[in-house]
């Protein structure tokens, strides 16, 4: 990556952070949630580029959130960096085991089976009295390297950390997609047997992607838990995972920025739809989903690409 684009990214990050902090409380809250969800969807998009749609990212989203919640409540660990690392470690460990089983499957079997695993977690959590069963429990405010911000400043802290993480991880994911392993993902989608003939290991490509997606989902879940101050089993329910798939489709899989932009748009759309039509917002989402599938199968990012192509066509 060129230094110029790196500098541009840092400036963009700074602008987003300052802008986010200046926004009214409820908007910066939604924005942080959107950043968290955007990271989950980024992981999903990595899988989708290999042709795999997971209807169970809620599993790792929920694991990340619960690890964060349990650390703050029961272990008095509030350092946001420690919490992040712990969430990712737990999620990666779970994904490493489940992945062994799951990565043998493709298409709808992968989708349904991943959903079943998240439903297992949901089933365990709703019956667990200690963890508040269906109500979940509250999450304490985070701190950073010994500095404990007040109740109001702590959401600003999460926002800053979330934006930095999104930009760093987005850049890493962008690099990853340009790497051999990243391109191998597309080969898996196009033709697995040919990839094997070329000497690649299909299982390893899928397995690595699955674990990366789990880690990203855990970070997203942690961000959500810390900013909202509450976790509940609904995070592992399959409708949550369905929401992630929705965002992924909305953005498209062409670029790492697509899921992040789509997540912000989705949160805005949902908040608006929920305020205007509380009983029909699901219906609005349903029609939007159908419209995207029919009219814009490669997501909103295809608009950006069309614009870029037009520009390239004019200059040449």
């Amino acid at each position: 990556m060129k230094t110029r684009s790196l500098a541009l990214l840092s400036v963009l990050g700074l602008v987003v952070i300052v802008g986010g902090l200046l926004l009214p409380q409820w908007m910066s809250y939604l924005f942080t949630i959107a950043m968290g969800k955007g990271l989950v969807v980024l992981g999903l998009v990595l899988l989708m580029r290999a042709g795999l749609v997971s209807f169970g990212q809620g599993l790792y989203y929920c694991v990340g959130a619960y690890v964060a919640g349990m650390l703050t409540q029961f272990a008095d660990v509030t350092d946001i960096l420690v919490i992040m690392l712990a969430s990712v470690a737990v999620s990666v460990a779970i994904a490493a085991i489940i992945g062994l089983l799951l990565c043998r499957y493709r298409e709808i079997f992968f989708a349904m089976f991943s959903m079943a695993f998240s439903m297992i977690l949901y089933g365990l959590l709703v019956r667990n009295q200690f963890l508040g069963s269906t109500d979940g429990f509250n999450v304490a405010n985070p701190s950073l390297l010994g500095w404990t911000p007040g109740a109001e400043a702590s959401s600003d802290l999460v926002l800053v950390v979330a934006v930095i993480l999104v930009i760093t991880l987005g850049t890493v994911a962008w690099r990853y997609l340009k790497s051999l392993s990243g391109y191998a993902g597309e080969a898996v989608r196009e033709n697995e047997i040919r990839l094997e003939y070329l000497g690649g290991s299909v299982f390893r490509v899928v397995y690595v992607k699955y674990i990366i997606a789990a880690a990203l989902a855990a970070i997203g879940g942690t961000i959500t838990a810390l900013v909202s101050g509450h976790v509940d089993p609904e995070m592992a329910y399959w409708t949550t995972s369905g929401e992630f798939v929705f965002i992924a489709l909305m953005g498209g899989t062409a670029h790492v920025a697509a899921p992040l932009v789509a997540a912000v748009l989705f949160e805005a759309l949902r908040t608006y739809a929920f305020a205007v039509a509380p009983y029909t917002w699901q219906m609005i989402l349903g029609f939007a989903l159908l419209a995207i599938i029919i009219f814009m199968p490669s997501g909103l990012w295809s608009l950006v690409e069309r614009f870029q192509n037009k520009k390239a066509g004019k200059t040449s």
Partner: protein, 298 residues
């Protein structure tokens, strides 16, 4: 001993309920290769229209026994007409797309139907207990069972036999099996695949709503009931093998018995046990117990 009997009866009732729901789901997948996420919404639709109809029927003070006819007729009419709308209005333009895309399309339909149901019937729960109490209860070996539940077992056996007979012993069933086996060859042989698709979807949607209607008297009809049901039905058909009616039957029995055992012995793991069984079966038989092996296309 008493507990064992209770588990067996509860398990059979639960299994027959699961079978009725999953039969429609697996039939649609087998023929159309669509894993119909909105199946749960058809179930909810049947429950709501059935319950509303029964409520209205009893308010007119007619002969109580005909309420069963009202219940089933209302659900079938609602299920089949909405099914027709969904298939003709949306799904037929999507045939030939990727199976995963079809999941997302039917997911969209699910979102729309969930809210449509709320718009029509509101968010208050509905009760249609009259048919349930009408049949009374049977005391057996010191336990009390609702006769309605036994009727549910009977109905599911009838549906199973009807599907088996229809698929294996009739001309249309044979045509259907040709389509299941190879869609392209079937249309090359002059079978009207589009019409078979429509009919299959209607049968599947009809069975789904029927399942809802039959469940409605036993519990309260509330928003979101279809969303809970769909994942259970998925577990059942995946255990049995997608697209296989026999598979749905065996899957329903396995899940039904497993859940009844859990409910009676370890109530905390009720939901967990269903997916644990599913994971176990899939670890050894990745395509499910009765799935037809698919040749891999290169």
């Amino acid at each position: 001993m008493k507990q064992l009997l209770a588990i067996l009866v509860d398990g059979s009732v639960y299994a027959s309920w699961l079978f009725i729901i999953s039969a429609g789901l697996t039939l649609i997948y087998g023929v159309m290769r669509i894993l119909n996420m909105s199946h749960g919404s058809f179930y909810a639709l049947g429950a709501y229209s059935g319950a509303a109809m029964v409520g209205w029927y009893f308010s007119t003070g007619s002969v109580p026994w005909f309420s069963f006819v009202a219940l089933i007729a209302a659900a079938l009419v609602a299920g089949i007409s909405v099914g027709l709308l969904v298939e003709r209005g949306l799904l037929r333009f999507m045939y030939g797309r990727d199976e995963v895309v079809m999941i997302l399309v039917t997911y969209g339909v699910l979102l729309i139907m969930e809210d449509a149901i709320k718009l029509i019937w509101g968010v208050e729960p509905y009760f249609a207990y009259q048919p349930y109490t009408l049949l009374g209860r049977t005391k057996f070996a010191g336990l009390s069972f609702a006769n309605y539940d036994f009727m549910l077992i009977g109905v599911s056996i009838l549906i199973g036999i009807a599907l088996w007979y229809g698929l294996n012993r009739t001309r249309n069933g044979k045509l259907l099996r040709v389509v299941i086996h190879d869609r392209e060859i079937a249309s090359a042989l002059g079978i009207n695949v589009a019409r078979i698709f429509t009919i299959t979807f209607l049968i599947g949607a009809g069975i789904g709503s029927l399942a809802g209607a039959l469940t409605a008297p036993g519990l309260s009809v509330v928003p979101g009931m279809g969303i809970e049901v769909i994942v259970l039905a998925f577990a059942v058909v995946v255990i049995g093998g997608l697209g296989s009616i026999t598979g749905a039957l065996v899957g329903a029995l396995i899940v039904g018995m497993a859940r009844a055992t859990a409910v009676h012995l370890y109530p905390d793991v009720e939901l967990f046990v269903i997916y644990a069984v599913m994971g176990l079966v899939l670890a050894f038989r990745p395509q499910g117990l009765f799935a037809v092996a698919n040749a891999r296309k290169i």
